[in-house]
Amino acid sequence: MQSLTNRSKIVSNKTMTWSERIYLPAILAGLKITLVHFFKKKVTLQYPEQTKDHGPYFRGRHVLKRDDQGRENCTACGLCALSCPAEAITMIAAERKPGEEHLFREEKYAIEYEINMLRCIFCGFCEEACPKDAIYLTEMIPTADYTRKKFVYTKDMLLEGIEPKDRIDISKRRKGIREGAM
């Protein structure tokens, strides 16, 4: 019967010629390919010593940003948790006390903030939802570990440092998000 899609391949059962039957030309052709690749540039990277640059849209583990004065941007509004399709983000909010104005930018801040890196699918919705410019995905990769508990990243692991050397540069990614490229 004729096939309806007409996509099936008809197999031919033609007999091989003498030159094909001795296989030597085919073997030599194969060896030639191997030999050509032997002198070509190697594509393998010696990973831990050598690393490859990430593309501009790479989405790695998160960072909680501070503003120029070193105050935490996050105000625990919960929009990242709301937008998260994997339910990876949880937080507990607290009220800023008088005298803590140099630590937190707004009246409310996240006293606890957790991201479960096993749940996270690195989609970047959280940084898109964030109204306070507080969370960004970086080029860092969550490292492998032995227990599930260690993949729950707490606030002190996610928050960047106050000193200029401890800051994590996300300017490239921020620019991309604002232009709608990512």
Binding site: T75, C77, G78, A94, E106, E107, K108, P131
Partner: protein, 318 residues
């Protein structure tokens, strides 16, 4: 009396306002920021419910010269009103929204009202994406008006609803509007003055986050909590409330709000602030939330509420 709003006709009793007639139709209802049907004399301040009257009445078919506030204008027989079908009304509403937002801090990420805020809904629908206001916004210091209610005067839009609640629900009002013009503010003058048994209703009637529940302050966001209707035997009020659950914990108690975000029955402070255990309440059903509301994202209709098992046992023992 026959009135036609956006080409839909309805018969209403004399003395009905255009807004009430629109609510009877149920579609294309003008937004309200200051009008509250339960409060006498409310409305006419925010101008967000402006509509265009294209035909005054059967006897006098001339259109009204300006847009009118639908919450304060009574219908006439044969009146024809245009709400969303008139570009003029939409433009006016856009401008009104812009004016309301001029002094509003737009600190929704911090505000506890976010998610059930009327001003948020209004600006989402009619507002600009960016402010055109260059000057400094009006800012007030936080004042302590009482142990249960948190006031943020900066967020206030001067709708006077809370003043009317205190006037009409309680025998003595201790807060009101001080100063005038741009400097006017809701205040108690003497701090920690509000202690009336029904003062908590100010929180429910406030269209923005100017008055919020101190016991719920920063506990969670509205859209992470599940609303459930419940009641209890209360000596001072009807005891019919909405409980807002997070897990098995009652984070907040509010009055039951209807389709127009108005409380059906006012509740007392004891129910609102001090009864935060499931044992205190008899649960009726899940609250009805518009599916367009962000709150509905947390209402998994396929999931049986865990709290139900306990509640079914409760009425038997009583």
């Amino acid at each position: 009396m026959k009135v036609t709003i956006d080409d839909i006709s309805i018969d209403v009793p004399p003395g009905t306002t255009i807004l009430e007639a629109a609510r009877m139709i149920g579609e294309n209802v003008p937004p309200t920021m200051c009008y509250y049907s339960k409060l006498e004399g409310s409305g006419g301040k925010c101008r967000s419910c402006l509509v265009k009257v294209t035909k005054g009445s059967e006897k006098d078919p001339r259109p009204m010269p300006k847009l009118v506030a639908s919450c304060r204008t009574n219908v006439m027989d044969g009146m024809e009103v245009k709400n969303t079908t008139s570009p003029e009304v939409l433009q006016a509403r856009k401008s009104v929204t812009e004016f309301l937002l001029i002094n509003h801090p737009i600190d929704c990420p911090v505000c506890d009202q976010a998610g059930e805020c009327d001003l948020q809904d209004l600006s989402y629908e009619h507002g600009l994406s960016k402010s055109r206001y260059d000057f400094k916004k009006r800012i007030f210091d936080l004042i302590d008006i009482g142990e249960n209610i948190q006031m943020h005067m900066t967020r206030c839009i001067m709708c006077y609803r809370c003043v009317m609640v205190a006037d009409q629900l309680t025998p003595e009002r201790v807060h009101g509007v001080l100063n005038r013009g741009e400097a006017s503010e809701i205040s108690t003058y003497i701090q920690k003055a509000i202690d009336n048994e029904f003062s908590g209703n100010m929180i429910d009637v406030c269209p923005v986050g100017a008055l919020t529940d101190k016991t719920f302050r920063f506990k969670s966001r509205v859209w992470f909590t599940k609303p459930v209707y419940a009641h209890r035997d209360c000596k001072t009020c009807s005891g019919k409330v909405t409980l807002w659950y997070q897990g098995a914990e009652v984070l907040r108690v509010t009055g039951r709000k209807n389709k127009w975000h108005e409380v059906e029955e006012f509740i007392c402070n004891d129910c609102r602030f001090h009864k935060k255990n499931t044992e205190d309440w008899v649960i009726e059903s899940a609250a009805t939330i518009s599916r367009h509301s962000v709150i509905s994202q947390n209402l998994n209709v396929y999931e049986k509420p865990v709290i139900h098992k306990k509640l079914q046992e409760k009425p038997k023992s009583e």
